[in-house]
Amino acid sequence: MSELIAMTGAEAAERVRAGEVDPRELFDAYRERAAADRLNAFTWVADGPPGLRPGAQAPLAGVPVAVKDLFCTEGVPSQAGSKILEGYRPPYTATVVQKLRDAGAPLLGKTNQDEFAMGSSSENSAFGPVLNPWDRARVPGGSSGGSAAAVAAGLAPWAIGTDTGGSIRQPAALCGIVGMKPTYGACSRYGMIAFASSLDQAGPLTRDVTDAALLLAQMVGHDRRDSTSVRFPAPIELPSAEHLRGIRLGVPEELIGGERDGAGIEPGVRKSFEAALRLAEGLGASVEPCRLPHAAHALSAYYLIAPAEASANLARFDGVRYGLRVEGDGDLESMYGATRSAGFGPEVKRRIMLGTYALSSGYYDAYYGTAQKVRTKIADDFRAVFERFDFVVTPTSPWTAFELGAKTDDPLAMYLNDFCTVPMPLAGIPAISIPCGLSDGLPVGFQLAGPAFSESRLLDAAYALERAIGFDGSAARQ
């Protein structure tokens, strides 16, 4: 394998800055690998090096980035994994993609995903499932599975995705890489094809924690085109911590117990998670149980709130302004129905139905209203815990990567995958997943969550732990 591919994003940027690596050569090396992708991780790959000369002094120094399909990119297919947007080339670019480009990271390609980010396995794509580079008979997780697989397999130096209920962290865990969901509002959502607007956040998927910090630092910031985006209080710092002295880690019984709701954590995942806790203690952290009394209900609240918002957001796909149109019986209403029925896949239809039902007259208070109250309780739970603890830690996913097709016939079993990742977006807080080991040859993810805007501290803690764990992901980069 080429020496270029072996470098992390930060290392490559450093070498470019030092004049030791030509950024065009770096771009071409990755472009060739992405174009020869056998994981179905990419839905589009750039033709050649970008016209603009990547400034070697720019923060990202010309190191190219892979971008999840649902980020609008001007003139480039942006299909959100859906047949209803097949061939759609938007006339504008999402803010975070533009910010990365301005910081010196040209677009390498667009990555495959679950349709409209609805899924935990990247099997719900109109463009076929993504394969896990650790074992091609298995899923890479989802919904940002293409981004995760591309980074793990060395088809891209780094990538971005979106996380609504775990869609960055869970695929990062299943592919043995780092994935971070920032605080809600940290990154602009402008140009992200919306799933659930009160939850969606963009974030990095990278080989290590330093790369995550480097990318995220360029992504955050207020955008006048997204009124829910905020001024990030302080610049994201590059992590440097060598120990965890004085850091208090809370292990929430409600998520780790796992017996309730049948989301039981696999023994191999538990073992790897607990070994990482011992390493954290060795670095000086204290590890104690904590309580998030409503966390076990987060999944239920999530699967009412997210589909409800999705049912409203996806009303725009009606065959009028862009995307697919199917004529139906000749009148407007039947065109709407025919277009949407032909254009959406089964999981998207399921969520639209669930959300429409939860918002419908007579059920609104019982479902959507109740879920919003549970959301308040979950945010309160985290606030209380963060008075006594710096971070909450859990396994990212209860399971390692499962076989393709293993859960497609049971939507509820698939949803349970998100058991440990949905509470954080409901509370709007940041969380990061780092690889903490292998179980039967498959990566296990370790999740740390902190209070709103604690990204720099989270990255620092994750960095110290990452060094102690010493995970080697090179086996996935063939």
Binding site: P91, L299, Y322, E333, F344, L354, T376
Partner: protein, 100 residues
């Protein structure tokens, strides 16, 4: 919990035409999911305010100054049926009256 009639009703609200197989699957799958999520109704949530947005933001207003937007022909490039500088649609026809 969700019978055939309910699935068809929600399908109409969502502008989704579902075939018989889909209706059957939807009834079974959604019922199972609803059975799970309904557990939250057992919680005591009296007096708890709902959360619709997690970050404290006030309505963000900017000066209302006109600025260039995307040209009409660029926008219409993606439209399935551009007509006279606008979006063409089939006639609302007989079913155009709202029935929900």
């Amino acid at each position: 919990m969700l019978d055939r009639a309910a699935v068809l009703h929600v399908g109409r609200l969502a502008r989704l035409q579902l075939n018989d197989t889909e209706v059957q699957r939807m009834a079974a799958e959604l019922s199972k999911v609803l059975e799970h999520v309904e557990k939250i109704r057992e919680l005591d949530l009296d007096g708890v305010p709902p959360t619709s947005h997690v970050v404290d933001v006030v309505n963000a207003l900017r000066p209302d100054e006109p600025e260039p937007c995307l040209p009409r022909d660029v926008i219409l490039e993606a439209a399935p049926e551009p007509v006279d500088g606008g979006f063409g649609v089939p006639s609302p026809g007989a079913s155009g009256s709202a029935h929900e």
